[in-house]
């Protein structure tokens, strides 16, 4: 792709040679002559051998290579990367080892890899990729252009939207964790009869788990992104455009509204509510039933970040406070 074409595609302003051929994107340090990179800040001009740079609109150094001015260089970089490095095209194919129920309704242009299973009455939308060992239960509905990486499992009755990516080892729709104590006899299993509904443009990381609802459903909204090894319990409702980092766990019936950002290793008690726009720092703990408003939060139990920091400073100052009290005691004597 020529630098001129890239500038056009990104609606950016090219400064320099428009005919340079760009083959790939790369990091600033590693980029070579036929590679494109980006800088986020307008100051200075980086050393390096990139063939072209995406720069912010207020960039004003005089470069010796073609540059393209854009509003958000990192976003523009992601977009052009998606063009220069399209996701691996898997040809339409059904591997002869796949086990597909006769009642399954298969769309067009599917990739169905080796050792895939598709259960009764399940529907797979056009262009969806089921990689080796992916397993789809009965009465599952998967939209168009999804990618299910190897060994993903979707339990009976769950629904997945369009353009959704599930990474290797994701488990959707296993039984939730609910029991009732029956005295000395131990635990009776509470019914786990619900389902899971996942929206469009969702991405879920490797080995994460989304349990089915006990009676109702567990929901993940459009555009939500979830990292590896995350636990989402029964009847949790996650809104749209939520980001959840690795190893976070969300207990039953908790609600996370649109546009929240959740760090890694955060723990949520059950029946909590996180209001739209809240940001929760890593390793924080949200108590059962707690309502977390918009703003930045940290600690266990979670507090507004400012309070948390102030409190931490007080704790750090404890040795001095103790000294001061000792001194006062002496003086009073």
């Amino acid at each position: 792709m020529k630098t001129r074409e890239i500038a056009e595609f990104l609606n950016g302003q090219l400064d320099g040679d428009g005919d340079r051929e760009i083959l790939r994107v790369a990091s600033l340090e590693k980029a070579g002559e036929d590679e494109l990179s980006f800088i986020e800040k307008p100051e200075g001009f980086p050393a390096g051998n990139a063939g072209c740079l995406l720069v912010p609109e207020n960039f004003d150094a005089v470069p010796n290579i073609p540059i393209i001015k854009v509003k958000n260089p990192k976003l523009a970089f992601a977009r052009i990367a998606a063009v220069l490095h399209p996701p691996k095209k898997r040809e339409s194919l059904t591997h002869n080892s796949a086990v597909i129920s006769k009642s399954a309704k298969l769309g067009k242009d599917l990739f169905i890899g080796a050792f895939v299973c598709i259960g009764e009455h399940s529907e797979i939308g056009d262009g969806t990729v089921l990689r080796a060992g992916a397993k789809i239960g009965d009465n599952v509905k998967i939209g168009a252009n999804c990618v299910l990486h190897p060994n993903v499992f979707i339990e009976d009755g769950c629904r997945i939207g369009n353009n959704t990516i599930l990474h290797c080892g994701v488990v959707i729709g296993a039984d939730g964790f609910g029991y009732i104590r029956d005295g000395a006899n131990g635990y009776e299993k509470f019914p786990q009869l619900g389902t899971v509904t996942i929206g469009d443009d969702v991405e879920i990381g490797a080995n994460s788990c989304v349990d089915r609802g006990a009676l109702g459903e567990t929901r993940i909204g459009n555009g939500t992104k979830i990292d590896n090894l995350v636990q989402i319990a029964h009847n949790v409702r996650i809104g749209e455009r939520v980001v959840i980092a690795s190893q976070t766990g969300i207990s039953g019936s908790t609600v996370i509204e649109d546009d929240c950002v959740i760090g890694g290793q955060v723990g949520f008690g059950d029946h909590a509510t996180v209001r739209s726009g809240a940001i929760i720092g890593s390793q924080a703990g949200v108590l059962p039933g707690k309502i977390v408003r918009a703003g930045v939060w940290w600690g266990t139990p979670v507090q507004p970040l400012d309070e948390y920091k102030r409190q931490n400073a007080h704790v750090k100052g404890l040795a001095r406070l103790k000294e001061e009290v000792k001194e006062l005691k002496k003086r009073i004597k």
Copy 2:
């Protein structure tokens, strides 16, 4: 099932029409005419359209629908749900893609799904279900009426009791994490030659791991319930009727006695002991070698809940304490 039959099955006291036909259970908000739900508290009478309600024995409102008075409505609800929604019956079947050692001893009425492997001299009890992609090593013994969900793996020599459920991606009997430092050469692997023994009526959640003992065994007692993404290290011994929530990790040789309840994301150091009846809150941390007595515990390192709360209150009051000391200093001057 008629309301009268349900009342009989539950040993409950029917008040109202005994001939109403109930097809399903449902949540209170969603339940319709042919569905049954429950309430746990005797006060008030819920709106909604349920066809029948399980209520506590001291319930005394006058309902306009059939009610059934029982000791523990939630428990009764679970029991009748198990009757109205029996686990999916999988017909006795061995999929022709399964790879089964000739020396394996298979019980009656097994379901053996696609791409299942069963190793040498392994035994599978009557009525057990091995779903697609489950893999059983050599010399494994699995009891009757178990369900191994897709992609479960049981390593050589492990033993599973009866009526036990292992969810998708569970790994039983991988090597424990033990090494000995050999100076600058790095680490030598300590032998991981033991096994895992899991009792009856156990349930283990998706992608959880139970490592084999180093020299002895890792044990999980009857009736214990473990959530998703839990880590159980080598030589851990877990008693009967223990409940462990998601993402908790238990280090080597730690003992958790009968009837404990462990929250999510709890971390246990090695060689700790949790006495029967202890309850440990989520995200708590138990130091190596610590003995945790019966009672409720929280925090890192764990403290009795009362102490933990009192300490938290003191920390929250630090700003004021600091002010008071400042004031005293002024007055002394």
Copy 3:
């Protein structure tokens, strides 16, 4: 193996019968006549029925069984255990259900189990074991004498050294977790075009995940040992002989240098650096960008262990401090 042969193999000093036949290793409590165990401390002499004991060089009790004096009994025990209990020998075999690309380059003496997949142009070194359901993408390179346990997945382009062990369910090379917010439209995926490079003699526990680099690579050095359910994000660089316990999570671009020891459930923010020789306690939290020097660290945010303990003591003493201030106020009045 005779006690004399064991002493020779371990370069130890035998005291007692050199002809006793030893079949197995065992724990001290369980060891019988034909089994060998070890003690780490020179004091006392353990009860038990072991057939032979490895003891420290300064051991001086008079035993009634053959003993072998060695520098490091636990290390010697691990070494002789590896001889007496060699890893299961899997004969050279390619199961007929395996799906192997014609362009793959396979070494000698491979074990390729049922339902294994090997993609285009991938190379597998001599003596490597791919157990049932292991899946290798395209252009992957795996060294000699590795063991990939069931259901391991290696994504396109990743590289694994020699003698490396990946336990069941490990995912190598899934996309990292990187997005750019595009206002109300939600998130655009940042390119995840890099790779993963894993050295020799590495061991990674069950269901752990190592994401591919965004633009560069994610690296794990020789001799590093990683436990179950660990998360390693894109572009993380882990040195040699590092030990990481279960459920720890490491965010993007963080560097952990050689010979560090990391506890379980630790969380690392992105772009942190842990200097060679640091030891970090379980459940600790390392802030983004933080540099952790050699020494022992604990808490969130991590502090030197001594400081952490002192601070904890101050917090525990808060009730008393409050009392003292109250008393002072009274006296001043």
